[in-house]
Subunit: 139 residues, 2 copies
C-alpha cells in the first residue's frame, strides 16, 4: 500500500477502536509521546499521552455506545506526517436514549517504525441537519 | 533562531494578521496549496487555499474588529512540520457591541523555502469563564 492508503487505514483503526470501545486498539493506534493532543468535541484540550489515554479509559468505562460514520474523508501525506480531515456522524446510545451529532475532525498522523500513529485529534461540534434517526447499536 | 522559535514567530504572525485585519499578512503566512484546511470556530471545514483565503477576505471585509490574546501556547516541531496548540481569548467588537469568547486552537505549520507556513487551523469554541471584560479596541 502507498502512504495515503496506510494513513487511511490507520484513521479507520482509530474510529473502529472508538466504535468498539476497544481500549487496547486505541492504545495501539496512538503515539505515546508527551506532545500528542486530543480535543474531544466540547472538551478542553488534553496534552500528552498520559492524559489522552486516561480520557479514552474514562470514555470507554461509561455505559455509552458509539457508532461513527465518516464522511468527506481526505488524506494528505506530507513527508513523515499526514493530515486526515473528515466529518463524523456520531450516534451515541445510553440507557437514557440515543442522540446523533455531527463533528468536524482534523487528525494528524506520524510515521513510526511500527506504522502510522495518531498524534493529534481535534473534533468540534458541527451544526447541521441530521438526516436519519440513529441506527440501533447492539453490544 | 531554532525551529521552535521560528514556528512560535510564524504562529504570532498568523494571529497578528487576524488582529490587524491584514489580508496581505494573512496571505503571506498561509501555505497556498489545495490540501490546506481551516475550521473557524463554529464554521464548516474549509479545504484548499482558494476557499480558505476567500474566508479571510470575507471576515476582514466586515465591520468587526478582533483582539486575540493567546494562552497555553505549545510548539512541537516534528521534522518538516510543527504543531502549535493554544487557547485563544477572542474579543470581537462591532457596532452592535462587544463579545469575548474562548477557543481551543490546533495549528499545523510546514517548513518551506520561504519559511514556516500555516497549513491547518482548527479553532473550536471552548466553554469557560471569561475573567475580565473585553479590552477596548481602537481602529
Amino acid at each position: 500500500m502507498n502512504s495515503e492508503a496506510l494513513v487511511f487505514e490507520a484513521n479507520r483503526r482509530f474510529y473502529d477502536a472508538l466504535s468498539h470501545l476497544d481500549l487496547e486498539a486505541m492504545d495501539e493506534i496512538w503515539l505515546h509521546e508527551a506532545w500528542v493532543v486530543c480535543v474531544h468535541p466540547g472538551w478542553q484540550m488534553l496534552r500528552g499521552w498520559e492524559d489522552v489515554g486516561e480520557s479514552w479509559r474514562r470514555i470507554f468505562s461509561g455505559d455509552i455506545g458509539y457508532q461513527i460514520e465518516l464522511d468527506q474523508i481526505s488524506v494528505h501525506v506530507h513527508g513523515e506526517t499526514a493530515v486526515v480531515t473528515c466529518v463524523e456522524r456520531i450516534a451515541v446510545v445510553s440507557e437514557e436514549g440515543g442522540d446523533v451529532s455531527l463533528a468536524t475532525s482534523t487528525n494528524l498522523f506520524v510515521d513510526t517504525p511500527s506504522g502510522w500513529k495518531i498524534a493529534l485529534h481535534h473534533g468540534s461540534p458541527l451544526p447541521g441537519d441530521i438526516q436519519a434517526p440513529p441506527p440501533p447499536i447492539v453490544h
